[in-house]
Symmetry: D3
Subunit: 291 residues, 6 copies
């Protein structure tokens, strides 16, 4: 039988961003309507849509060879899996999310210990129980089906909730008193699958191409022509790590410089390149960057 990699794609809020990332990395995944088994244009891969919350559980048992999920849910499931790479591509921002302990703004709670004997609502029940158990603080942890941040103080005393900027917590008049964990998306693999040479290489290629596509999102190409006399001045403007390619032109007084830059610095760099004697400066988009 041909080699086949069983790959879990996160269903839900991450799904569209994940399919988009795979497309830019070179794999088109078609998730048609209600099917949980999307097709992929690679005969060596078999996809299944699985909730991020359950992904690690099924990668651990080997039902899946590999999958994408957050560090938070790996820990919640306490799963023994191989962490292949971190992938920071979530839509809204490219920062890690945090799971925090939050209490009503006007409560007297200041630290985890103050919650002894209280009720804490969270989606992350097992991790939260272990956290408080390790600190020997007795609390009641209740599973919350959603809208956790509106519950205190009417329905519970405190919550453990995920947040990026804290704005939803503030809007609900909650105050953060502790950060329990930071989390980002991981490509994980089943430990047994990762000892299979073919699967390990396949997963490695996936990792390289996904990272190449992510890198291209924040980088651009820049080309310019430079009189030889100004070349050092121009190269000094470029960031140390950009390793520009300098090539000869038929007109031997000039050289062409081609380089890769973080998009975020381009608006500072171009005016300085021009001041340093560069001309014909052109920025062009990239699809993948593998340094």
């Amino acid at each position: 039988m041909a080699n086949k990699l069983k790959l879990g794609i996160p269903k839900g809020s991450l799904q569209d961003a994940t399919l988009d990332l795979f497309k830019r990395a070179g794999w088109e995944i078609y998730a048609s309507g209600r099917s949980y088994f999307p097709t992929i244009n690679d005969p060596e891969i078999e996809c299944m849509l699985v909730r991020a919350q359950e992904m690690a559980r099924y990668v651990e048992t080997g039902a899946l060879d590999a999958g994408l999920t957050g560090n938070d849910w790996i820990l919640e499931n306490n799963s023994d899996v191989e962490r292949v790479t971190s992938l920071t591509y979530s839509k809204a921002s490219r920062q890690k999310v945090k799971w925090v302990l939050a209490v009503p703004e006007n409560s007297t709670f200041q630290k985890p210990e103050d919650l002894a004997g209280k009720v804490i609502a969270t989606e992350l029940v097992e991790y939260t129980k272990r956290y408080f158990a390790e600190k020997n603080i007795p609390v009641k942890v209740e599973f919350s089906w959603g809208a956790t941040e509106v519950k205190p103080p009417m329905l519970c005393d405190a919550i453990v909730e995920v947040t990026e900027t804290g704005s939803s917590l503030r809007a609900n008049r909650l105050r953060i008193i502790e950060t329990l964990m930071e989390s980002e998306t991981q490509l994980i693999a089943n430990k047994a699958s990762y000892t299979d040479e073919w699967k390990k290489k396949k997963i490695g290629n996936l990792s390289m191409m996904l990272n190449g596509a992510i890198a291209a999102l924040s980088q651009v190409g820049l080309m310019l022509n430079v009189p030889k006399a100004n070349l050092d001045a121009v190269l000094n403007v470029l960031p140390a790590l950009s390793s520009p390619t300098v090539s000869h032109l038929r007109d031997s007084d000039w050289v062409a410089v081609n380089t890769i830059l973080e998009e975020a610095v381009v608006r500072e760099v171009i005016p300085r390149l021009k001041a340093a004697g560069g001309s014909g400066i052109v920025e062009y988009p990239l699809s993948k960057v593998v340094l």
Copy 2:
């Protein structure tokens, strides 16, 4: 302080149908954007949006005086609450839903006992555990975050899942081997609140008007004129329970008949009324029916 009833409205799939029902019953609830505390045009009521899954838990503790949720989630939470009335108004159909035990079409499982030692995925973990424990069948029950029906056989052996028509189960090539429970929406009350006279009356009025609005959905008014000579023939056509109102007209050879009918029978009844001598037959819509 004025009397106030704390009322839980089910968040999620039932929400729009519930707000619509309340509107037809006489209460406008405005659920603006992301707020979980919708306003209501009744100063004696305070609303909160709560997941159906958690409603019974918070009505039991008294955080809410009353709420709407399914029988299934009352049982899952094993909550001790007052069941005031059943309300059958769910959007798609007006039938009860069923929680069933389903297995892969081509598996050998035929009855609950065959699942001894197997893994069952479900959203209704506690109820399912009690069900199998009572039958002394040892199974592993796993919480499922959704898409339960795509899991067998790859991710589990069987599932306990909710269904109306069974079509989603069939589409996933699953076979039902047992019905564990039927469920419909309930208006429930906190037991202590229900001993408070004001609250009990308020809940009773709510119940009467909600039921009046539900009844009006499937009933219509019918008016017709009938020559006195044909009145018995016409009345014989009307269903026994419709108790028509017969009133005198200025033209003393005729009477007017006004009645309430199930909408479902109108298409049969009108042709027969006409055949029996009725004329000027008019059907008109109703907003509430309290018999």
Copy 3:
């Protein structure tokens, strides 16, 4: 085997209006997604979605017992079917549509005879051929797949096209020189089916209820109280055909008048009823009117 009526529902532009009409008449038809065999809440009927253009063909062969389609397509197919009733319920207007012969505004064509030897594009090829053959005018009739009105003069000389108001023809700078046919929706039946007593009665009930629902669209109920002294004046205001019901009240100086009116005249009638001494005038909506 139980009796069953095979009923064709027009697929396409009339479909939504037809389903809505059936719903108001008492039959709910669920056309889910791409299925051409919608379900209906009447075990005695079996529905199929069929293009209006082909309906008469399949009612004629008996593949369907009955169906709804336009007079135009019955004639185009030259089908031998029973015409049960006309049903004027199309969304935009409630007028008949016309099939007209149209030529470029600035052409010299003035009458059908002027088109001898010319090319005519139309969707209604067979009917158009017969029309010109009967007049002994030799023309070339070409089937048009759509956008017929943009074709003259570049792609053909004249067209036979359907129109309600003529505005699309004018916008394309075309001039009507002849009306070939008027058309409206018909409920048709297979001739053999129509000799079956059960089917004939079933089709008759359908016809009565569909017409009752159509009538209710343009009529309303009106109730008012009238001092006996003013009754004649009030009745004189009401249209001759409205046959109002006059009933006694407990207060014997007053009577109650209840009547059905065309909605279009209400805005004229109410001010005159009030001037004639009516009071407490109330208009209410109707769902069906079977006089």
Copy 4:
């Protein structure tokens, strides 16, 4: 030439609600795409869409015979027009709007006089200037093209702005220090047109039907059967102004009661009617109410 009433319909935020109101009152107005001259199903009326801000100006000059606009814009234009009736039908609420003087929350301004020498931004420039001139407070009033409430304190010192609930002002951290005017929609007429008998009667009918449609929005019909013995008890439950119609039934122990009620009280009245001995209580919707 036939009589014709030139009627201005407010373009913009009130437009949809206005067309809907006219439809319920008995006039269908078709505002197709970009045309400012919608068609209406009444050959005696000619419509034009005109901004509410400019309506009174053009009714005053006689370019329009009548129109709908707010009291605020009549005063802003200082127009000499006939006010025929108030019409309270705006979508969000049915309350009057207010034009208020608002200042930054944390400013020291407490009353209009404190703004002497300051800059006030508003859409209602002329009215505001007259207001402050009458109080002999010298201010600079600047026309604001929109988003007035975000301007203080960066772009101006205070604003005169319209508000229903004040929530937008609060959200922009503004504090109301004075209410300058309350406003609601008016049907206005040109003074000369209003002396023309035909036009005055036509405008009067419009006014009656528009008010009849508005009244029907908040009222419902209620029918019930009552044993004669309980009639007084039942009638005592009904609000004083509802003037119920009581009619005889063939069964002489019973009477039928039919009445019109404010929808807002139905949820209180029905339980009390039932307690008083009413049965077969039915609520039905109304389209127009002209008492």
Copy 5:
């Protein structure tokens, strides 16, 4: 008079994809609302929207100089036109479509001959008639206005229908017993127009640019730096046809390689380039490729 090319653009399902293709090829076509004569930013071209089904007919008569349509409709119309180039750009896939003969899954028909005497429904009436006539199989071919695949066995015995993957046929429980034709989009020209030198060159440029834009859809640019020592290893990784450009760098130990690749192989090639010693690998998008 200036030279002008009359060009037919396919109206309907291909339209958006066609306009998008022309835009990428360098021509912006604006199809505003209902007009069938879109504007184009090239004074030498005049566009008309024409149904793919009729395109060949009007190119053959010379009403159009050139146009885009499928091979299937050229054959259905039996048109004598110049086929300039094939263009495979349809949205869903980039494969040819097939017209197949399909019968009910559970019928006994196995080959075309089995349909002698039967009724076949299809949109491709003329081609189908010729096909069966050439095989001397007598069948009745009926024009189908759409939804052809739901007709057997109720409304006909077999169908000739277009399909890409066969999934719609399978969903309707039909079985393919013969492929009659494969089809893809063609740029066609009127034979007389194609002898005009100016028109032939204009059509040739169109063909080159359309093909250049199509090629760019599936290809990407790849740049990398390579130590001279590894150049052969790197070049061996690249597909034979990619003809990479190798250029000198100022640092004479390194060269820059720039090449065009099929996007489909990039995910395989990049890991191997890196293994062969390439670095700074960058993929960039292309707009046109003319080799």
Copy 6:
């Protein structure tokens, strides 16, 4: 305190195009919901959404350091501001807009002087008053709240209105008799701010990057390989201003040519490059062009 540039972004029809332009220039501006103070990914800039009509007023007073608005509104406000650069990026076309004097098609007005004593409606009241005052033509200029072009002749005699193609004026049967002004978007600065060195440099960088992003919209990159023998022929095909870069290849018989071209000429240039001996011609998109 750190340096900070207060920048006005035009609210309304230009807003989306402006945010898109800034994004391509290197600045991401997030305008969340109803806030008028969008965030920007540059700690040195503070944004405010301001109507184009009011922008110049607030840049003149120094409430803003810089802003984008049309030349028309600078003149309407008669503001004394620094004009930094013109930016032509409006969505529909990239032409200047015109403010014109228009009269009813069938009126006798032929020149501005003919309007002496008449009423002119416009949004540009002050500029229009100055225009007619300078010509000593007495007119009444009325502010128009919108839909200006439907007003003549019913509500006014002539209008001064903005237009790109004149099509809206023609559709309202108006005739242009004079162009009063042409206008395009300007980056403007407060005169005092522009003497501050840091602010002037910051505004200069903004100007360079915005212009670089605009230039890239209409230009593309083109690469091709050329046998040395054909190089002159190839270079002759390229537009004089394109200044191509010619670089050596390892295969010394060939050179690589890389150049920037107006996208509009590519469809003409590529066929001629190919005819001149170029091969492997590739067009690629650009993000910024700073020559």
